[in-house]
Subunit: 111 residues, 2 copies
Amino acid sequence: MVQCSPIDRTLAALADPTRRGVLERLARGSATITELAEPCGITLTGMKKHVRLLEDAGLVTTEKVGRVRRCSAGPRRLEDIEAWMESYRRMLDERLDRFGELLERTKGVPQ
Amino acid sequence: MVQCSPIDRTLAALADPTRRGVLERLARGSATITELAEPCGITLTGMKKHVRLLEDAGLVTTEKVGRVRRCSAGPRRLEDIEAWMESYRRMLDERLDRFGELLERTKGVPQ
């Protein structure tokens, strides 16, 4: 897909355990790229790439302070993803309910 | 990342509007690859790739009936993603609460 909507970018950004770990760390407070990279055992370059993807998705904001880039939890919330998942779950449940009703009705029909 | 856990695969599978559309369509009932491809205006080969990603994530099951592949909503539910998002939201909210408390306390301190 050429077009990439906010919800696509956010889901893709979340689809990686390192990036979800970064978000959990930043939810406790801001951190530098070095502080984020060290516990993961990955390079600064690798962590910068992860942070850039999270920043593009609005999940992280960064600020350069001197030679250090400080990262914080961004303004992006996950309501649209939660709403989509809730609506999908409801559709599946309704389908199961209809299937159940059909089974109930079939029971009453003489074979 | 070389390793790819179920939650990563599911989030990556959901990070595309065509694939989310396929899930919404299949929540209403099963469909063939052709029936899924036509309303999206994409090729059968393109749709097969989307379906394979959804199948790898357990979100879709497929069954070959003669020369036709029939797709249905799969057994995979989204509880683990919802749980992660809920936990992340709670962490952010707690941080905001702590920040609010700090502001309240600072108000009482003479400048």
